[in-house]
């Protein structure tokens, strides 16, 4: 009797182990691949960041000036947002264009939802956010950014994913922040924060998904939303920063993507000033202003946050400066070449890839020694995006 029940148990557990698993297929791993935008020719090149080689080129992606992208959670697909409103799904494993739609007249950026099911695209013209299924790019819903003052739709900037399957974005001309739940993606539920400040031009979310911060062009300060305490509303920090200083003209809007937490400091590019701001996260007050050689565009933190690499707007766009976050000072100046557009760190930060548009080169530097390791030929390169972004909130 006991023997029989033992055999039964054995059979049950055996079948539970062998029957239901789909098996591991032997496809190539692509966790060290990346996609580089060739902005003038409407193409991208797929690269390998371990062998430091170009693997293949995918063409026919339309106007890719200022294009950005997000990755599916398995890293296989890049969703590329073009300026002409094109949304392209590129297979990074097989190097081919999987699908492409024109979703609006004029797109600026996008995001992928926490569950990887929904692609959100923000548009300038007509202003708003459109939602699509990640697998087939089928339209789900349109969130029109209409306000009383902007009945035709305000320009949407700073779109990012957020925890609990939400997206957050800012309305540039209307000065609002909207938070949308995608639980019912055909009818997203929207919470609006009004009067958050004048002309938010870009925004970011902290790597842990807690703070959403929008940089303001029309006034001093930064709008901060604490997603742990949404009932507190949007607070303005550094409101008196730069008061009395003459604002310098801005020849390219800074991008607030490379948010840097280091210890109890956070570093952000200043607008209208040639500096990066170090802000204390304990009380959100200014800790120091780090002077730079020009107007910062990207301030990218090395993954360990010990360094921040900064590139610059016209006419200083051949330079890079490296800030040491421990001393909050510049420790290195590099002449990377004419038209530095973007930088991307390898996933753990030992190297940085830099696109030098007017030289048609991507340059790879060692971040410890600042040695130039390798130069790749890429046609008019702009954004560089490694597949490891697939697993990061806000990227």
């Amino acid at each position: 009797m006991r023997c029989l029940s033992l055999i039964c148990l054995l059979i049950i557990s055996l079948s539970a182990h062998s029957a239901k698993l789909p098996g591991c297929s032997g496809r190539e791993a692509i966790g060290d691949r990346g996609v580089i935008v060739e902005r003038a020719s409407g193409s991208v090149v797929i690269v390998n960041s371990t062998s430091q080689e170009l693997l293949c080129r995918v063409e026919g992606l339309g106007d890719l000036s200022h294009a950005s992208m997000v990755f599916s959670r398995d890293e296989q697909y890049a969703y590329i947002f073009g300026r002409d409103g094109g949304l392209s799904k590129v297979d990074v494993l097989n190097g081919r264009l999987e699908n492409r739609i024109i979703q609006a007249g004029n797109a600026i950026g996008g995001a992928i939802s926490q569950d990887g099911q929904i692609i959100a695209v923000s548009n300038y013209e007509p202003g708003g956010v459109r939602l699509f299924t990640a697998d087939t790019l089928t339209a789900l819903a349109t969130i029109e950014a209409k306000t009383d003052a902007f009945p035709e739709g305000a320009k949407v900037v700073g779109l990012t994913d957020a925890p609990e399957n939400q997206i957050i974005f800012s309305l540039y001309n209307a000065g609002e922040i909207w938070q949308a739940s995608l639980d019912n993606p055909k009818k997203p539920e929207i919470k609006k924060y009004l009067n958050i400040g004048s002309l938010p031009y870009d925004a970011l979310i902290a790597p842990d998904g807690r703070y959403y911060m929008a940089g303001l062009f029309g006034e001093d300060g930064i709008a901060k939303l604490d997603l742990w305490y949404p009932e507190k509303g949007v607070e303005k920090i550094l409101g008196d920063y730069g008061k009395g200083d003459k604002k310098l003209p801005v020849y390219k809007m800074p991008h607030l993507e490379g948010w840097t937490f280091a210890g109890d400091l956070v570093f952000l590019p200043a607008i209208g000033h040639h500096e990066v701001l170090a802000i204390k996260t304990t009380n959100w007050e200014l800790s120091s202003r780090i002077p730079l050689l020009g107007q910062p565009v990207f301030t990218m933190a090395r993954p360990d946050a010990r360094q921040i690499w900064v590139n610059f707007a016209f006419p200083n766009n051949k330079w890079l400066q490296v800030i040491d976050t421990k001393s909050a000072s510049v420790i290195k100046k590099l002449e990377a070449g004419p038209g530095v557009m973007h930088m991307e760190f390898t996933p753990r930060g030992e190297h940085i890839w830099v696109s030098v548009r007017d030289e048609n080169k991507v340059k790879i530097y060692d971040t410890r020694t600042f040695e130039l390791l390798k130069v790749l030929n890429v046609e008019s390169p702009s954004g560089i995006f490694f597949t490891a972004r697939a697993h990061k909130i806000g990227l």
Partner: protein, 111 residues
């Protein structure tokens, strides 16, 4: 509009007529640089195909009906309180007029 603004406008008009009467065409090498500047640097706000971005679209149809003088002053001095920066440090008046011509004829499309 303050008197000051009128003065600026009148001055700009005078400059405009002077330059229009005797526009100095940039050298072909400089023309190439200017075209690059238009597409890359103006394009970063106005779109590389001038179809708009944070700044308004600058295609032929968008500029139709807007006088050269207005466009000239906007490019030369920027528009205070908005992201449109002044370009007089980097562009001569003749170069700005050449650029306006490029925008009106959409010759950048050939690039």
């Amino acid at each position: 509009m303050k008197i000051h603004h009128y003065l600026v406008l009148i001055l700009a008009c005078l400059l405009a007529t002077a330059s229009l009467a005797d526009p100095k065409i940039p050298t072909s090498q400089r023309q190439q640089e200017l075209m690059q500047l238009l597409l890359d640097d103006c394009g970063s706000c106005h779109g590389m195909t001038m179809n708009g971005g944070l700044g308004p679209p600058l295609q032929q149809s968008n500029l139709a009906g807007k006088p050269d003088e207005y466009i000239f002053v906007t490019i030369r001095n920027g528009t205070a309180g908005t992201p449109m920066p002044p370009w007089h440090q980097f562009l001569t008046d003749d170069e700005i007029y050449w650029m306006i011509d490029v925008l009106r004829k959409e010759t950048w499309k050939k690039e």
